[in-house]
């Protein structure tokens, strides 16, 4: 991306050196620094239950962020995820009104998510439309349908056992959502970093034409990624609806940008082709820790967003400024 020419090194960097200077390590350092600062700033921070509560800040967003990471690595983007949550939640809420039980609700949430993902995938891969515009359109469309159905009303009355997904605990302070987050993180790690499919995703992001010539079915891989993103949004919709216990059409409003922020903060290149799941996991914790720590200090949510925004630009700008300064110093 930058036009500066780099000297070709005469030997490979050692694996240890690579690991120390990697994005993930930098981010982990930031996360630990925030953690330590928080524990000094607030006496309530180091408490297992408080920390467990903290994870609710990011688990649902992070589930979508995993699929979004793959999608962005492949060079596409999906801005409609939050609206898919709204539509899936509305569909579940409507089903409750006619007496559908918990298994049915879960099925409906997942199906709506998949259908929305398929719709996006169809428009992008079959019609060849740019994903950023398509998903801005479907973002309005999906949430728009929720507004048509609900208006200024809300769906309530979810069955008691449905509450488990958003409020239940698997073991001690480990919530169901946190456990699901961990399981999904492992699955996505394996898929992206250990399978042919993951290789294909990177290949497509780096050079779609070359990928096509290497025998990768680019359109099909991208379609699957849109499906996955829709599915994850459906899962997030189940968790969030269960946690809130009600559905309004404004549910999860603005999450798409927070999720993209999380993915980019995690070191995924917005231009496609690079990024990792561990990075996204750490970024999720960083965002959760910042929000929670400042919350304990009674800092309003909107101010936290400044910190997140500055973090997003800062973590990308600082290494580049550093590089530029070093180049200038070397010239002198």
């Amino acid at each position: 991306m930058s036009d500066t020419t780099r000297a070709i090194p005469d030997r490979l960097r050692s694996p240890l050196d690579q690991r120390i200077k990697s994005w993930e390590t930098l981010l982990l350092a930031v996360a630990i620094a925030i953690f330590i600062t928080n524990s000094f700033m607030s006496p309530f921070f180091l408490n297992a239950w408080n920390l467990s509560d903290m994870t609710f800040n990011f688990t649902e967003k992070a589930m979508i962020a995993f699929a979004m990471a793959l999608l962005i690595i492949s060079g596409e983007i999906d801005l409609s995820v939050a609206s898919i949550i709204a539509l899936a939640s509305t569909a579940m809420g409507a089903a409750v009104q006619i007496g559908v039980g918990t298994p049915g609700l879960v099925l409906i949430g997942l199906t709506v998510g998949l259908l929305c993902g398929a719709f996006n995938g169809f428009l992008v891969t079959r019609m060849g439309l740019p994903s950023i515009v398509v998903t801005i359109g479907t973002m309005s469309l999906f949430r728009g349908i929720s507004y048509i159905v609900l208006g200024d009303q809300a769906f309530r009355g979810y069955p008691p056992d449905f509450a488990f997904f958003g409020q239940g605990y698997v073991f001690w302070v480990i919530s169901f959502e946190l456990a699901l987050f961990a399981v999904l993180a492992v699955i996505y790690y394996v898929v992206l970093h250990r399978t042919n499919f993951g290789r294909a995703v990177y290949a497509i992001g780096n050079n779609p034409v070359a990928a096509e010539f290497s025998g990768i079915r680019v359109a099909r891989v991208k379609f699957i990624l849109f499906l996955l993103t829709g599915l994850m949004s459906g899962i997030a919709a189940i968790c969030l609806t269960s946690r809130l216990g009600s559905t309004r059409p404004s549910i999860a409003f603005g999450w798409e940008l927070e999720i993209v922020t999380m993915v980019v903060l995690g070191g995924v290149s917005i231009l496609g082709g690079s990024g990792s799941i561990p990075g996204v996991v750490i970024a999720a914790f960083v965002m959760g820790l910042v929000t929670f720590g400042l919350g304990l200090l009674n800092v309003p949510g909107i101010v936290m967003s400044i910190v997140i925004g500055a973090l997003l630009i800062g973590v990308i700008a600082l290494p580049r400024l550093w590089e530029r300064w070093r180049l200038q110093a070397a010239k002198r």
């Binding site: 309005s140 999906f142 507004y147 208006g151 400044i306």
Partner: protein, 327 residues
Amino acid sequence: MARQDLMSREVLLTGAIVLLLGIIASRFPAFVAPSNLVSVFNDTAPLILLAIGQMIVILTRCIDLSVAANLALTGMVVAMVNVAMPGLPVPVIIALAISCGALLGMFNGVLVWQLAIPPIVVTLGTMTIFRGTIFLLSEGRWINAHQLSDAFKGFPRAAFLGLPVMTWITLAVVLLFVVVMTRTTLGRAFYAAGGNPHAATYAGINVGRTQFWAFTICGALAGLAGYLWVSRFAVAFVDLARGFELTVVAACVIGGVAIMGGRGTVLGAMLGALFLGIISNALPVVNISPFWQLAISGSAIIIAVALNASANRKEGRIILKRAEQAT
């Protein structure tokens, strides 16, 4: 050839708008009364201003998601200046709004130009930073009508030759940018930088600096729209125009601006904005719940982008790709 295509897009959109107005008029003739059409245009004015700015940014293969936050921040700044110094004349306020918006735009531009950070990342970040700054400045309080001076509130509504000043300002901006985009080297540079950055570089155009100016112009227009919005509705608060950035992108897409850069016109952006403005103004009139608006504009975006894509397929740039695939 390309020029004809562009013309046909604008003709198509004008036709769609006329058709839309015709359908509404068949049941509610009062909607197309000149006075009402002026008020619809007036309501859409901020969207038109933002869409023109956004179009220029998109032309250079960038995107600015911070426009709505810029509008709200500038609006809050001028409102607070007005509260602190009620005597300050309106032209000074407008100059302040434009420079404040331009400065915020420059901040985006510098990050994109000098550090080569992808524009979508930069403006996602600055969007939240600007919003947060409004909160820090205002401490979360609203600035309401009674706190603002009469001159501040009255200026955009004042009638001049039968039309509100806000409409005149918007028309002047449209005219100015039609000239800038079609008759100046800077305008050509915007198209060149987005149409083919490599060719533009060889032609002696500094692509990064062109993008910087695009962000600056977009910011300045957002600043102007910020003053107009706050003075017209006589209120400034943190969440002003939240989510509006995507409506602005939608207006551009409907107006035939190609998201991959290099294609689009000021007239198209204005028509795209008007299309959305007419829908949002007409829904309550034709007795459809305003809750339909989001879904309708969403469908309009998808249809428009499908049309854009089929128009672009005829274009020369694609030939190369086809040749690549053939080998």
